[in-house]
């Protein structure tokens, strides 16, 4: 019974001590196992009181050496991991690996702790490397890549990468610093970190820069090598506007969100097959948030006409039940939209790999998935 109780509160030293204190005073004829347990608890509790982590590490090392068969040895290992990861990351990782390599005792949680502290230690190493790069390096590419790995320093790393690229651009050593892209990447990172307001600022700035850059490049003579970026810039902008719209929506600015979607749509033009379902989905979310259920349903229906995402189908059913119109009406409408814009697949006369003729006519009458690929 006491063993159970102690196990339950295994990792909490103070509680363990309290529960021991409440036990009746030991008697001379108490069995040796109970006695050992009590003494071991006391020893470990005393070590737990030591505040200095290096000192505590030394005491735990000694405890493990002196009492390798102690009933609470696994807890000693867990405490050692906890102390080590603060003072000696590399050793914490080695110890965690040693523990994980042992056969597992299902009653002990030491291997679970080994995983946790190994993750914490690895993360700490990443963070230390990020910090070192932040302090010592000036290469914008290195800074940006470090920002991708090190969550803790990511925004500082991005800020420095931006500052360094600006410097290079001012010095003339980098005439096209891709600053727009860097601001947009920073915005995505901030959004991921939940810092929506800052993400919104970076996205707006990035888009403004990308538009300016586009105008600049378009004015360059045909043979200028910088024009090579033109296609990528044009293709990226509608996506950036779509992300901007989401950020406006999440920051409680629905009208600006809808406006950004209009821009995204305009810039995507007709070749926006991939973008249109998400544009309509975000539009629907914003409209639903504004209480415009009918308009939201229209947008969801358009999104569904491009891409039959199960989630969008569910949204249509939910919203339709509010309006009293059957969801089937919207699904039929999506079908009509699809048919109205459907274009015939271009005729072709080719051969299959086995040398048989392949033509468009041979596919007629069948629902066909045409897949374009490279064998890899």
């Amino acid at each position: 019974m006491n063993i159970r109780l102690v196990y339950l509160i295994a990792t909490l030293f103070s509680l363990a001590v309290a529960s021991c204190a409440r036990q009746p005073a030991p008697q001379a004829q108490q069995d040796p196992a109970a006695l050992e347990k009590e003494e071991s608890e006391k020893r470990l509790a005393d070590i737990g009181k030591v505040r200095d982590e290096i000192k505590r590490t030394e005491l735990l090392d000694k405890y493990i050496r002196d009492y390798p068969k102690a009933s609470n040895i696994d807890r000693a290992y867990s405490s050692l991991l906890a102390a080590l990861y603060k003072v000696d990351v590399a050793r914490a990782i080695t110890l965690a690996d040693e523990i994980l390599a042992r056969p597992r005792d299902p009653k002990s949680s030491v291997w679970k702790n080994a995983y946790t502290y190994k993750f914490l230690a690895l993360q700490k190493q990443i963070s230390e490397l990020g910090n070192k790069i932040l302090e010592a390096d000036t290469d914008p590419g290195v800074l940006q890549s470090a920002a991708g790995f090190d969550r803790e320093h990511s925004s500082n790393l991005y800020e420095k990468a931006i500052a360094e690229r600006k410097k290079n651009s001012n010095k003339g050593s980098d005439p096209d610093p891709y600053l727009d892209e860097l601001h947009l990447a920073f915005s995505r990172k901030l959004s991921e970190l939940g810092r929506k307001d800052e993400a919104l600022k970076e996205a707006s700035l990035g888009i403004e820069m990308a538009r300016a850059r586009l105008t600049e490049i378009e004015a360059l003579p045909k043979e200028d090598p910088q024009r090579r970026r033109l296609a990528a810039l044009k293709e990226g902008l509608p996506y950036s506007y779509k992300d901007l719209a989401s950020l406006y929506f999440e920051s409680g600015a629905p009208r600006e969100g809808l406006e950004a979607l209009v821009q995204a749509e305009k810039l995507a033009g007709t070749s926006s097959g991939a973008l249109q379902p998400s544009i309509e989905e975000i539009r629907a979310k914003i409209q639903a948030g504004m209480g415009k259920t009918g308009e939201a349903l229209e947008s969801y229906t358009r999104s569904f006409s491009f891409r039959m995402s199960p989630g969008i189908g569910d949204r249509i059913r939910t919203l339709a039940s509010k309006t009293g119109k059957p969801a089937g009406d919207y699904f039929s409408r999506a079908r009509e939209l699809r048919q109205a814009r459907a274009e015939p697949f271009k005729a072709f006369t080719l051969k299959t790999a086995d040398g048989k003729p392949a033509t468009l006519e041979s596919l007629k009458g069948k629902v066909t998935l045409v897949n374009f690929f490279f064998p890899t």
């Binding site: 048919q339 066909t368 897949n371």
Partner: protein, 117 residues
Amino acid sequence: MPHLQKICEKYHGDGFVLIAFNMLAQQNEMLPEWKAKGKYTFPIVVTDDKDYFATNPFDVRGTPTSFLLDADGKIIFRHVGYSSGAEKIMEAEIRELLGLDPFEGQEAATESLATNR
């Protein structure tokens, strides 16, 4: 491609076919081995034109790209690139065009995919 092969087998009897275009003539000779390795049964269209990817008449600019055509040969759905969950969506669209309930039996389908792995 393995998931396309599965879809192909699942809906073969319902009037569905899959056809794949190899966009890189330079890799035509890799096809027999690739096909055997994946146990693919669908026809693969090839060309000798090494510039086919750049000049193709279908306005395909990257792979993977998929067009889903109805029985009249009209393009109803397009999938450009890969995104998570795209297989489920594509299957729903195929079912829709075949006149089946688009989302019926999807849970069962994913389960069997998971256990086959």
